[in-house]
């Protein structure tokens, strides 16, 4: 895959999604970068902001299979993964595995925090191992595979916050904010008239191969060792214990219970590589890293009680870390 070809396809997909979703340009780009980096995305925002539409538009534009799972408290793991059913053919009765909605290229886990932890954990293996095991049989997921989960920051009664282990499996956590007045006007124009605009399919039937090529190219993007070292220092600075106990970021010691895992560093570098390709470069710059630090690390910082009590957010702590860690 040629970098220019990557860029062209990326912008075509992005343009199609932007034709449906008004605003959220940064979220759309980050979702696409995470997709081509092979990651999963957690979208957090109030209801009605277009999260579900964004995911549907993405799958349409990519020409990939799309499944949506509405997570509720009574949702069972089998409802996601699949279950054995008794089937009869030619006079013989056999158990067959009926694949659940997780077996799709793009899976929308809507309001994932409303399901029980048991159900939530059903998607863990699929997200990380890209395979599902049911009754001792392992079923591989067909690439590309991406889980986009949404959660509502309000109406927290009766919800089950995602466990840290599951949060760590999300490549990015994106905040979907309310649209600006002009954007809201455009939303009204598009949604209150006759006809519903949908994203056109950009990739054809060989879309999976193209996506695999783009995925490979993204990982080949050059990154200098000093930049990798910067990422390492950033992630290490999020650790409130160990060597960083006497570090230079007091906010980390004061408000964090746990810091980012190595997956955080991986997400930063892959996200920066994707950003570099989108910017038309074949190498990562510091600016690329800076643009993905927040979505890559904000859900990996586990705040303590004091931070919750003082309404300190992970983004505030990340800002302090970025300020404290020098680039050179």
């Amino acid at each position: 895959m040629d970098p220019e070809k990557f860029r062209e396809l990326f912008f075509r997909i992005e343009t199609e999604i932007k034709g449906v979703i008004v605003g959220h340009a940064d979220a759309i780009r980050k979702v696409l970068i995470a997709f081509f980096a092979g990651g999963h995305v957690l979208l957090e925002g109030a209801p009605g902001l277009g999260k579900t539409l964004l995911v549907k538009s993405l799958s349409h534009a990519l020409g990939l299979s799309f499944k949506r799972v509405q997570f509720t408290p009574d949702l069972m793991p089998a409802d996601i993964v699949g279950t054995q059913i008794l089937s009869e053919s030619e006079g013989r009765r056999d158990f067959q595995f009926k694949k659940g909605p997780i077996f799709a290229h793009v899976v929308l886990a809507d309001e994932i925090n409303r399901a029980t932890p048991k159900t939530q954990s059903a998607v863990l293996e699929a997200m990380e191992e890209r395979q599902v095991t049911a009754l001792g049989v392992t079923y591989p997921m067909e690439p590309p595979f991406m889980v986009l989960a949404t959660q509502n920051p309000i109406e927290l009664e009766g919800t089950y916050p995602l466990p840290e282990a599951q949060l760590d499996r999300f490549f990015f956590k994106l905040l979907v904010t309310h649209p600006a007045p002009a954007e809201l006007t455009e939303i009204l124009h598009r949604t209150t008239r006759a006809g519903v605009q949908e994203a056109a399919q950009v990739l054809s039937a060989d879309g999976a191969e193209v996506i695999a090529g783009m995925h490979l190219l993204l990982r080949q993007v050059l990154i200098a060792p000093p930049l990798e070292d910067y990422v390492v220092r950033l992630v290490h600075a999020t650790q409130p214990d160990g060597q960083n106990q006497n570090g230079a970021v007091p906010e980390v010691r004061e408000y964090l219970r746990f810091g980012a895992s190595p997956r955080g560093a991986q997400a930063i570098i892959l996200g920066a590589k994707g950003t570099a390709l989108v910017q038309g470069r074949v190498h990562v710059s510091y600016d690329d890293i800076a643009s993905v630090i927040y979505p890559a690390l904000r859900h990996r910082l586990i705040l303590n009680f004091q931070a919750e009590a003082e309404n300190v957010t992970a983004d505030q702590i990340l800002a302090a870390i970025i300020k404290a860690v020098p680039r050179d």
Binding site: P3, Q220, V221, L222, I223, A224, P225, P226, L227, R281, V282, H283, V284, S285, Y286, D287, D328
Partner: protein, 452 residues
């Protein structure tokens, strides 16, 4: 390095290396300039010490070479810390050319493990940015703040050195004369034919440090060597220059020391009595127990015309330092003559008083002898600013009581009795019975304050 503009066809790696080389040269200059002022300051101190005989030529050469080596090593160490890395040079290029970390990536990435297509594309992008780089414009040599700090620190060090030189005579120990002799021996050793004498002088200086020797033995040693010096001086050709001056200075120094030892010994024997000293025994009045303190000054101040000539022939700083030493030594003796006064009673001659007051210019009485030029005459301005000041020694009742413990107090009181009419309260003989024991005439209370 020439300020050549990078050509678009040049390899970006060469640009990085070129900038790094240029920055390395800058760093070398920075390191050299940082250590240059302290090196020059040290050389100044060394040559200063050499000029005044504290260091001989060999020591100067050795110290100079050692300093050069140390400064070079330190400069190399600083250069290594300042020398830019390839990454640093690339980062600067990125900053100047807005290269978005292209040069940093090129400078640090493992080219063998990188996809060739992407690497070649990165090189092409970096090469297109080279036209934005101009060495002279973008990487000029600038003096660092550290150089200025180094200059200031060096100047301060030199000032402190001179300040310490000024304070050194005040802090000088009892071995000051031996040091002076050592200095003289080093200076003499530089003149052909005087090496043996210099060696003898050096040995004498070493022996004078020996506390086991009595003053008499020391004096005899000094006298013996002084004779050698005088013989050498007599045999020296007229106008032989500084060697002759040094010989005269050495002779004067030895004379002063000899007289000082003699005076100190005489004091020890005549304590409590009225020991009269000859006018030539100047410096004897400084008689502390060892009789050695301050004699150097008296030796230098021997009213020998040749000595004066020798002092005049000294080069400027040397002469100035000598005068200052005389002045300060005079102050020392002036401050220590209280015990001598106690021992000598009131019998010291006026000239001795003059000498005992050292450089303070406190003439007591005019001597009937031919007055050397250096002694103040009536109407001359004294060093302490007193004009035509006269001194009178007044024996206070405490002194009359002969109390040894009141010696210091008596000294203090005597200082306050300067410029008083020559009237004393000495015991008077009874009329008609001149041989009777004189009765004491007590000082009226109302006059005490005036005299004190």
């Amino acid at each position: 390095m020439a300020g050549s503009l990078a050509t678009p066809t040049a390899q970006p790696e060469k640009i990085i290396d070129g900038v790094r080389h240029r920055l390395a040269i800058h760093a070398l200059w920075q390191a050299a300039l940082f250590f240059l002022p302290p090196l020059l300051a040290f050389y100044y101190v060394i040559f200063f010490l050499h000029r005044f005989g504290w260091l001989d030529a060999d020591e100067v050469m050795l110290a100079g070479a050692a300093l050069l080596v140390v400064a070079s090593v330190l400069a190399v160490g600083r250069f290594r810390s300042l020398a830019p890395s390839r990454q640093f040079a690339a980062r600067l290029i990125d900053y100047r050319a807005e290269g978005k970390d292209r040069f940093v990536t090129l400078a640090t990435i493992d080219s063998l493990a990188s996809p060739p297509a992407l690497l070649s594309r990165l090189k092409a992008e970096a090469a297109s940015l080279q036209s934005r780089i101009e060495f002279k414009r973008d990487f000029p040599f600038r003096l660092r703040r550290s150089f200025l700090d180094s200059c200031i620190a060096s100047l301060i060090a030199i000032l402190i050195f001179h300040l310490l030189l000024q304070l050194a005579p005040l802090l000088k120990s009892n071995s000051g004369e031996s040091i002076d002799l050592t200095i003289l021996s080093r200076q003499l050793a530089q003149f052909p034919g005087l090496e043996k004498l210099a060696e003898s002088l050096k040995m004498l200086a070493a022996r004078l440090e020996d506390s086991a020797l009595s003053n008499e033995e020391k004096r005899s040693l000094i006298e013996e060597l002084r004779k050698q010096v005088n013989e050498q001086l007599a045999g020296a050709e007229q106008g032989s220059g500084r060697g002759e001056d040094l010989l005269r200075q050495t002779s004067n120094q030895l004379s002063g020391m000899e007289e000082g030892l003699g005076a100190g010994q005489g004091q020890g024997k005549g304590a409590g009595g009225n020991q009269a000293q000859s006018p030539t025994q100047r410096g004897g009045g400084k008689g502390s127990a060892d009789g050695g303190q301050g004699e150097k000054q008296s030796g230098l101040k021997t009213p020998d015309p040749s000595s004066g000539a020798a002092e005049k022939n000294l080069p400027g700083p040397m002469q100035q330092t000598g005068q200052e030493e005389q002045k300060q030594a005079g102050e020392r003796t002036g401050g220590k003559d209280g015990s001598q006064d106690q021992g000598n009673g009131l019998s010291r001659g006026p000239r001795e008083n003059l000498e005992s007051k050292g450089g303070r210019g406190r003439p007591d009485q005019k001597s009937s002898e031919p007055t050397p030029q250096r002694i103040l005459r009536p109407g001359d301005q004294g060093q302490a600013g007193l004009k035509d000041s006269r001194l009178v020694t007044v024996q206070l009742p405490e002194e009359d009581a002969g109390m040894e413990g009141a010696a210091a107090a008596g000294d203090r009181k005597r200082r306050t009795s300067d410029a008083k009419p020559p009237v004393g309260n000495l015991p008077l003989s009874r009329p008609g019975q001149p041989n009777a024991t004189p009765e004491k005439q007590m000082l009226p209370l109302e006059y005490r304050e005036l005299i004190r």
